[in-house]
Amino acid sequence: MRSFLETHPHDVLVIGAGGAGLRAAIEAAEQGASVGLVCKSLLGKAHTVMAEGGVAAALANVAPDDSWETHFRDTMVGGKMLNNWRMALLHARESPERVRELERWGALFDRTRDGRILQRPFGGHTHPRLAHVGDRTGLEMIRTLQDRFVTTGQAVYMECTITRLLTSDGRVSGAMGYWRTTGQPVVFPAKAVILATGGVGRGYRVTSNSWEYSGDGHALAYEVGAELIDMEFVQFHPTGMVWPPGVRGLLVTEGVRGEGGVLKNALGERFMWKYLPEDRRHEYAENEDEARRWVEALSAGKLTDARQPPELSTRDNVSRAIYTEVREGRGSPHGGVFLDISYLPAERVKRKLPSMYDQFESLAGVDITKGPMEVGPTTHYIMGGVRVDADTAVSTQPGLYAAGEVAGGMHGANRLGGNSLSDLLVFGMRAGAAAAAFARAEAAIADADPDQLEVELVNLAAPFRRPDGESPYHLQAELQETMQSLVGIYRAAEDLEEAIRRIADLRWRWSRCRVSGDRTYNPGWDLVFELRNLLTISEAIARSALQRPESRGAHSRLDHPDADAEWGRLNSVVSRGEEGMRVTTSPVPEMPELLREIISVRAKAAA
C-alpha cells in the first residue's frame, strides 16, 4: 500500500506555516532535526500576514517602568485569571528576546526618537508595549521568519492539505493529506508532529479570518484523542468593517484606537466611558480632556501622567459595548458605530496606519483622514485550543505538539491585542525545540500504518462518488449562519441547544454532500474536508459554551450574566469519547504564591 503513495519522512513535521509554524520549524532545524513544513497556501501567505497592530513585549523602550511582571499581570487579568499561569509567565519573560531576535534576523520595526524599537499602546496593556511596523506588523514578522527558514535549507510543502494524523504504538507518528494542485495523496511519516494551524473563524459568517481558518489542527488533534480546552472562548474583535457588504468583518486594527481613535454612536456620544468595568475604571482617563492630553503626548513621543482613553478597554468589553449600542438603536447607518481618527493630522494617520487608509479608500471609498469609519464586532480569534504543557507545548498525546492559536491556555477567557504575535514566537520556538529533542530520542521514523492510509484514501475519494447531494458551500453558509446567530457575542442555553441540534443535522447532510469536477485544484472538494473540521469545532464551541453557566471574558451568557467564582477555577475540557464528544472540566492550574503577589501588588499600584 505505502509504496504506491508519495512519501516524505522527517524527524519533525510542522503543519502550518504562519508565525508559529515558521518559528517552530526554524528552531527544530537549528537543533539538527530534519524538518518538513506543510502549508495549505503558498509560503508567506498565512494568516499572520493579516496581523496589524503589533507584537507585545515588555522591552520598556517607551515606558521605562514596564517589566515582565506587569505584562504577566496584564495578561492574567485580561484573561480573567483562567489562563495557564505558567504559559503567561514564560510568554511575558521571553517575548522581549523573541522580538529582538527578529531584529537580528532583519526585521525593521518602527523606531523611537533615540533609535530603538518603538512601542505602541493597546487595549488592556498598562504601558505602550507593542513593537510594530505601521499597521503591517504581521507581514514584517512572517517575511522575516520566512527568509530565515529558507536559509535552513529544510523542506517546504506548499499548497498541501493535511486531512489526518497517523498514529502508531499509542503516539502520533506522521500525517497524511493531498496536494491541492493535483489532488494526489501524500504521506509524511514523522517522529514528532507540530500543529500550527491557527484558528476557526470560518465557522462564522462575519469574521476577520481567511478561508484557511477552518480549525484543522483543533480537529486533527481531537480525532487522535488529544484534549481541547476552553473552546467556548471565541474573541470577537470590536472593530471590523461593516460596509460595504463584501468586506463585512474585515479587520480594522486596534492600532487605530492605540493611536487615539475615538468611538462614537449615532448621537455623537463617546460611549465607552459608560462601559468601563468599575474595578478598572481608575486605569482610564476621567474625561475627554485627559484622553486628549494622552494622545498629544503619544504623538509627540513624550511621557505623560494622563491616563489612556476608554477606547483601550479590553476587546471583550469593547465588543459588548458596540453590540449594545447598536442593539439599543444608537448604531450607524450600516449597523455599526463610528471610529474616528480624522482629528489627527492627515500625515500622521497615513504614516502610522497606511494600510487602514488604503483599505478604506479602496474598498469603501472612505477617506479616514477626513471622516469616521463605520465598525462593528467580527469573529477574530479563539482562545481555546489543544491542551498543552507550558514548557514543551506537547499535547496530551505523545509526539503531538501545538503552538500559536491552535494551542489553548495562554490567553484564558480573553486575549489582549498584541499577545498572539508574541505567543506564536515564544511557544513556536519552544515547540520546535521540544519536538526536536523528542525526535532525537526516538530510534527511527515509524512506517505509516497501511490500514490508516487506506481509510483516508476512501475518505478523500468519497465526495466524488456520491451521485447527488448538497453543495459543501451551502452547508458552510448554513453553519456560519448558525454560529453567527446562536453562538455569538451573547449566548443563552436555549440557543446553544438549538445550535447543537443544527450542527448534528449539518453533519449528517455533510456525510452525503457531493462535489463536481476532478481533483485538480478543486476548491469545492477542499471545502469538504475543511467543513468536516469546522463542524467538529463548532460543536466543541457550542457544547463548551452550554456547559459554562456564567459570563467571563469573551463568553457572555444572557441567562447567566455574572461571573461565578466556582467556574473561575475551572477550565473546560473537550475530548473524543466512545459515544461522541465528551465535555468536562478540570481545575485551573494553581499559581505559586509569589506570582499571586505580583498580580495583587501591581493591581494596587495601578490604583
Partner: protein, 309 residues
C-alpha cells in the same frame, strides 16, 4: 473537465454559453434566493481550463451588491454555479497577495478591484497571470519565484556586535520599510515585459526580487555584497525602466525609482567607474569588501569570505 477546450497554443475562444455540463447542472441546482429579483447583474468572462486540456472563457452572470469586488463575484460563481472554479486567495484584504489575476487585461488583485470601477454594462474578463504556467482556471504555478528568492544572499549583520547598539533613526529605515511592504503578489513579475515576453528561465530575477535585494542592500547593518549577483544571475541590466511594475504594484512601492535605479547605479559604479577601479587596483581591495558599500557601512569586517578578484 467538461468545459469547451482548445489547445493552449490556439487563440482563446469565448464560449458564449456556459457550455460545461457541470455548469449547466449546477445552474439547475442553484437556489433562487441567492439572486434577488431586480438586482443588477454583471456579465463576466472567466478563464476555465488546465494546461493539459487547454482553456476557454466561460460566461457567468453575477448579481451585484454594493461595494462588491471581483473576488466576491468569483466566490459567488463557486458557491452557485461552478464549485470547482480554481481561484487562489487567502485574506481578501489585500494583505497576502494570493488572488492576482488579469482583469480586463490589467494585472490586479481581485480582492481589491471593485465591480463599481467598471461601466455598468461592461463585461469583466478575468484571466490568470500570463507570465506563469497555468495550473487551472485562474491559478498559475508561481514556484519559480521561490527558487529565485533562494539565490539571494540573506540579511548579513556584523557578527558579535551587541544588539543594544543597534540604533538607527526612522529616516534610516523609511526606504527599507517601503520595500518590505511587498506582499509577493507577483503582479510586477507578471507585467514585466522581460519576464512576460521571454522564457521565464532567462537570467532576470524580476522586479519583486530587485525590491528584496534593495531592501537588504539598504539595511543599515547589512554587510553582504550582492552586486555581482545582481549583474550576473540577477540580470539587472535587462530592466529598461519602463515602470510597468510600479504601475501595477498594489502596495504603491516605487519599484523603479526607489529600488531598481539606485541598484543599477551601484552596479554601474562598481563595475564601470574608472576611479573606483583604479582605487581598487591601488589598494588591492577585492570587489567584495573594498566596495563602496563596506566603506559606507564603516567597517571592513564583512563576516563573509572575500571573493577572489
Amino acid at each position: 473537465m467538461a468545459i469547451e477546450t482548445k489547445p493552449s497554443s490556439a487563440v482563446r475562444r469565448v464560449a458564449l454559453e456556459p457550455a460545461a455540463d457541470d455548469g449547466a447542472r449546477a445552474l439547475v441546482e442553484r437556489r433562487e434566493p441567492e439572486r434577488p429579483a431586480g438586482a443588477r447583474v454583471v456579465r463576466m468572462l472567466v478563464h476555465r481550463g488546465t494546461a493539459q486540456e487547454g482553456g476557454a472563457f466561460a460566461e457567468y452572470e453575477v448579481p451585484v451588491e454594493e461595494g462588491m469586488v471581483v473576488l466576491d463575484a468569483l466566490h459567488w460563481i463557486q458557491a452557485n454555479v461552478a464549485p470547482d472554479l480554481a481561484v487562489r486567495w487567502n485574506c481578501k484584504a489585500a494583505k497576502c497577495g494570493s488572488c492576482s489575476a488579469e482583469v480586463n487585461g490589467r494585472p490586479s488583485l481581485t480582492c481589491k478591484t471593485r465591480l463599481g470601477a467598471f461601466a455598468p454594462d461592461e463585461t469583466i474578463t478575468v484571466e490568470p497571470m500570463r507570465t506563469f504556467p497555468l495550473i487551472k482556471d485562474l491559478v498559475t504555478d508561481v514556484s519559480w519565484n521561490y527558487e529565485v528568492n533562494k539565490q539571494i544572499v540573506p540579511f548579513s549583520p556584523p557578527e558579535g556586535a551587541p544588539q543594544s547598539a543597534w540604533r538607527w533613526q526612522q529616516e534610516d529605515i523609511d526606504r527599507g520599510q517601503e520595500f518590505r511592504k511587498c506582499i509577493e503578489c507577483f503582479l510586477c513579475q507578471d507585467v514585466c515585459h522581460v519576464l512576460r515576453n521571454h522564457e521565464i528561465q532567462s537570467p532576470f530575477m524580476g522586479p519583486r526580487f530587485l525590491v528584496r535585494v534593495a531592501a537588504l542592500e539598504m539595511h543599515p547593518l547589512d554587510r553582504a555584497d550582492r552586486l555581482e549577483h545582481l549583474r550576473g544571475e540577477g540580470g539587472i541590466g535587462y530592466c529598461n525602466i519602463t515602470k510597468c511594475c510600479t504601475d501595477v504594484c498594489p502596495e504603491h512601492i516605487k519599484i523603479t525609482d526607489n529600488a531598481i535605479i539606485p541598484l543599477k547605479e551601484r552596479v554601474a559604479d562598481e563595475s564601470f567607474d574608472p576611479l573606483q577601479i583604479a582605487w581598487r587596483r591601488l589598494t588591492g581591495r577585492g570587489k567584495g569588501r573594498g566596495s563602496r558599500k563596506a566603506e559606507r557601512k564603516g567597517d571592513g569586517t564583512t563576516g563573509r569570505a572575500e571573493k577572489p578578484g
